[in-house]
């Protein structure tokens, strides 16, 4: 069955007819061409597909697109503004928080889900925010350092 949905993605309302079985991540990648949100697993365990739904970090591979009808979604593409990197993107760059970059969009969205509400989150809270996000490259230390530094920067501005 198909259904017409309207989802506001990074501030822009998109109306489209989707199959009711379509996952949100496929709607983002294939219908809207927003391929920054990655698919890294088939078992809801890698976190690469993390986006924000009405302000909360969630797995876009574990939600049907129709469940997002009428909702606001934020993806990694919505982070930079007018060509200026978001503090978390700048911090990942400066702290070597990525190598291949496959996990990075999900890492940043999961981290923002916590530090936007609690910029003073402890290292332990940052690690908890990222417990559902796997990285095969970095060893995580620089990711935590990047999130810490972004949180400090965001608290200042």
């Amino acid at each position: 069955m198909s259904q017409t949905i309207t989802v506001t993605v990074n501030g822009t309302a998109h109306t489209a007819e989707v199959e009711q079985r379509q996952l949100l991540v496929h709607f983002l990648r294939e219908t809207l061409n927003l391929t920054g949100t990655h698919v890294g697993c088939d078992t809801s365990t890698c976190g690469c597909c993390t986006v924000h739904l009405n302000g909360e970090a969630i797995l876009s591979c574990s939600l049907l697109a129709v469940q997002a009808d009428g909702c606001a979604v934020r993806t990694v593409e919505g982070l930079q503004q007018d060509g200026v990197l978001h503090p978390i993107q700048q911090a990942f760059h400066e702290n070597h928080g990525l190598q291949c970059g496959f996990c990075t969009p999900g890492m940043m969205m999961a981290a923002l889900g916590v530090i936007e509400q609690h910029p003073d989150a402890s290292d332990e809270e940052v690690r908890e925010a990222l417990e559902g996000n796997l990285c095969r490259c970095t060893g995580y230390q620089n990711i935590v350092a990047a999130v810490r530094s972004a949180a400090d920067e965001m608290a200042r501005s």
């Binding site: 069955m1 259904q3 199959e19 009711q20 079985r21 379509q22 996952l23 496929h26 088939d42 078992t43 809801s44 365990t45 976190g47 993390t50 909360e56 970090a57 969630i58 797995l59 591979c61 574990s62 939600l63 049907l64 129709v66 469940q67 009808d69 999961a110 889900g113 916590v114 908890e128 925010a129 417990e131 559902g132 996000n133």
Partner: protein
């Protein structure tokens, strides 16, 4: 993979949801077990009714000597709720250890109990607390005690037209704790143990060692008869026959039951 073809409706009222379930639709709560199973085609429901719009199923309030928790309350809310932390700690602690934060943002207490995975934490925590669920159908409402809720692998005593609407937590379960063992932060419990030291005695429940959460009656009997913690731990796995599998041997899992029961009991006594 992509889920197989289905027809989806979002319930606007509880009555609409009950009518859809009675007509054969599968309830969709947080989707953190059902959607992954649909992706793997381990589940292929033809009809889904989304409970996500039912505000009356979300929230926590006091009702006499119990806390009434709406079925659609997320693990994240349960884990952080001051009343549950204070009066039924074991359930808040179990909710805080479910999957990862992104999963706890969507997964619900009603979905976890309705799903009844043999490694799930909430069914064991509810059993340790001595809680219950309220279930509703178009025929009416009834209460199912935690001891009678899960009957086998992924199977509950709900009739096919019933929905869990509320979870009831006793306020007298303040001295309680949940301890789980898993390999990675996001993993399910290999074994998890909930303990409540209540006025009517100590209740201990274990996940991961059978087709449903089991009471550790060996441990309970020793402690409730005034025996020592060491003696109780030695009896913790009595009557349980876990399977040898990729998580470990039956012997290893029985050892974990004792270790975790000691940990949870010690933590609960200190509360």
């Amino acid at each position: 993979m992509i889920p197989s073809a289905l027809s989806y409706t979002k319930a606007g009222t509880l009555d609409e949801a009950l009518a859809a379930v009675a007509a054969g639709a599968r309830p969709l709560a947080g989707g953190q077990s059902l959607v992954p199973m649909m992706r793997l085609r381990l589940a292929a429901p033809e009809g889904l009714v989304d409970l996500g719009g039912l505000a009356e199923l979300v929230g926590i309030c006091e009702d006499g000597d119990e806390l009434a928790v709406g079925a659609m309350t997320t693990h994240r809310s349960v884990a952080a709720d001051p009343q549950i932390l204070a009066s039924c700690h074991v359930v808040a602690q179990a909710a805080s250890g479910v999957g990862s934060l992104v999963i706890r943002n969507r997964g619900t207490i009603g979905g976890s109990l309705g799903h009844a995975d043999p490694h799930a934490d909430l069914p064991a925590a509810l059993l340790a607390a001595g809680g219950a669920v309220i279930v509703r159908s178009s025929r009416g409402e009834r209460r199912i005690e935690a001891d009678d809720l899960v009957t086998s692998y992924l199977t509950t005593s709900l009739a096919s037209d019933e929905l869990i609407t509320q979870v009831r937590l006793p306020k007298g379960a303040a001295r309680s704790a949940y301890a789980k063992f898993h390999r990675r932060a996001i993993d399910w419990s290999i074994v998890g143990v909930g303990v409540t030291i209540g006025s009517a005695g100590t209740r201990v429940a274990v996940t991961g060692v059978g087709d449903r959460p089991l009471r550790a009656t060996g441990f309970e009997d020793v402690i409730n008869a005034g025996g020592s913690l060491d003696e109780a731990v030695a009896q913790a796995g009595t009557g349980m026959s876990p399977l040898d599998d990729l998580d470990g041997s039956a012997e290893y899992k029985l050892h974990l039951v004792g270790v975790l029961a000691r940990q949870a009991y010690t933590e609960a006594s200190g509360r």
